[in-house]
Symmetry: C2
């Protein structure tokens, strides 16, 4: 397969310029005869041609790529978002570059530099830090930058997030309507803006119902993991001397750990326990319990992110810097 226009030129006998005009669809403009057009196109159709994107990038100062940095590529929420974003990119002939920060500032910075070095046309980040990043991004590049999922203030960049506050509010209200007695909120990685907003919604709902949240709200600062979920539930069971009749979790990982803990300490999961969790998963269908969950709309998030990316520079400052995407409360059983 020829890899340069010159090779085709030599093989077909036409000049490099003519080859280029035909390849770049400028045949009309330069009045290339139909017969030579056909000869050249036939040659390419048979032998193929692989344009060298690096050379094109260098010349045009444009890479036709979008960079995406998320904490964990294997996380279902992020991978769904990535898939949605990739589809949008493909429609515009952009390629998506991905990197995982593993919640590590150092890795995140390296990924940012790498992407900047590759002159991505846009950069999408679910940041794991609030400090280092802004410094780094002062490098006034042409690159459009959008943050998502986590709105570390002050937001120097356009940001797209789910309506975590509304999620917390609605789910907690529903919970309070349905729970017989007290209920509990198991919370991991509480310092995260997204989690913080969920907690705010929770608090607001508690206030509406005249409940003192301090008795119910449990937090754990450290991280978002099943281990944390187990630990939180263990503490709860120790206090109550039995599993809670109703509880909420800040994420699926926490829920997973919490349920594992109930199972391992009591041997089973009582089907009368009322469960609520942020993030949704089809596998929640499998549980017999009443389950409330908050589903984020990854497609809508990706669309908003993409709109911001391709938004002309001139419009950047005038409009709202933060997009809030609606969530959906799902009730099972």
């Amino acid at each position: 397969m020829p890899k340069t226009a010159e090779e085709i030129s030599i093989a077909t006998g036409f000049s490099i310029t003519t080859i280029r005009f035909v390849m770049n669809g400028q045949s009309e403009k330069y009045r290339i005869s139909a017969s030579t057009q056909k000869k050249i196109q036939d040659y390419i159709a048979i032998h193929g041609y692989s344009l060298n994107h690096a050379a094109r990038s260098l010349k045009l100062n444009r890479s036709d790529t979008i960079g995406l940095i998320v904490p964990d590529l294997a996380n279902a929420f992020f991978s769904r978002l990535m898939a949605a974003l990739e589809s949008l990119c493909r429609k515009r002939d952009l390629l998506l570059l991905t990197a995982s920060s593993h919640e590590d500032s150092e890795l995140e910075n390296r990924a940012v530099n790498n992407f900047l070095s590759r002159r991505v046309d846009g950069l999408v980040i679910a940041p794991c830090q609030k400090d280092t990043l802004p410094q780094l991004l002062k490098s006034k590049s042409r690159t459009a930058i959008v943050m998502f999922d986590r709105d570390f203030s002050p937001s120097l960049f356009p940001t797209v997030t789910s309506d975590n506050f509304q999620g917390g509010l609605e789910m907690t209200r529903k919970m309070l309507q349905e729970a017989d007695g007290s209920f509990y909120f198991l919370c991991g990685h509480a310092e995260l803006p997204s989690i913080h907003d969920r907690i705010r919604g929770f608090s607001a709902a508690c206030e509406e119902f005249g409940i003192r949240e301090s008795e119910n709200l449990l937090r754990l600062e450290a991280e978002n993991s099943a281990a944390v979920g187990r630990k939180l539930m263990q503490g709860l069971i120790d206090t109550l001397q039995r599993p809670p009749p109703a509880f909420m979790c800040s994420s699926l990982l926490i829920l997973d750990g919490a349920l594992q803990q109930i199972k391992s300490q009591t041997g089973h999961i009582d089907k009368d326990i009322l469960i609520a969790t942020f993030d949704d998963h089809t596998m929640l269908d499998l549980l017999p319990n009443r389950i409330l969950s908050i589903k984020q709309n990854e497609d809508a998030l990706a669309e908003r992110v993409f709109e911001r990316l391709i938004q002309p520079v001139s419009e950047r400052k005038g409009t709202q810097q933060c997009d809030i995407v609606p969530i959906e409360l799902i009730c099972r059983n």
Copy 2:
């Protein structure tokens, strides 16, 4: 932030050549004095420098990227594999490019061409076709190519897959030991090599136990989806006039659909139903039922894939072309 060596040259007063020698660690070789080295390095430390990767690529004919094409980026198996592969790439300063084929040959071909055009150093594909691809890849490029997950024969390229046969064999054996009466295998996308191998394992185990598989094995050619799972289970319930006491699924999606169907037709999922499925998910913890599952080792798969990628061309032909990675049978409750 300076973006060219020339800018640094102008700012520091040293020649471009000197700047380059220092940046590329050839100070010793060309005996650059320690003081100028320090001045230049300090300047870069303060102001930064963003190397233009396109120019480098063009010059070195190397992109420092690996391309990954999978049917669905949002699928948990593929996203875990992607995450593992990304980690391996980062260790070698390679960037992972990703694309989703959505099980569409046309999209797959486009993605391949796109990656070839970007001169990826390696290309990893979970192919959705057996025909078009080999033709396309005859373009004898320098790019290392590895297939994974699906071994469409004849395998023209090194391939890495899980031991699906063994998985089918072990899980079916266990099932036959534990199932009281008959059991059923709900199977989607049966023409896929991976699924085919699972079925072969299933058949082999049936034979060991002297069971005529035709009575048990159910297939549906079309696709792998929850809808197919529902449909298959509906057919089964219609036949038996009740949910099966034991069944196996070819994937989590099929299982999800099957369980949804049981729930919608009978109102609940009997905890005495013995369930088996390919692919594992922590959420299976949540079910009270006895569950067998086959867990693929994404990390090991990624490592094997990566080894093949960086394997010197000279060794390509001599060694085994197909790596089979062990699976793990997991039993819950």
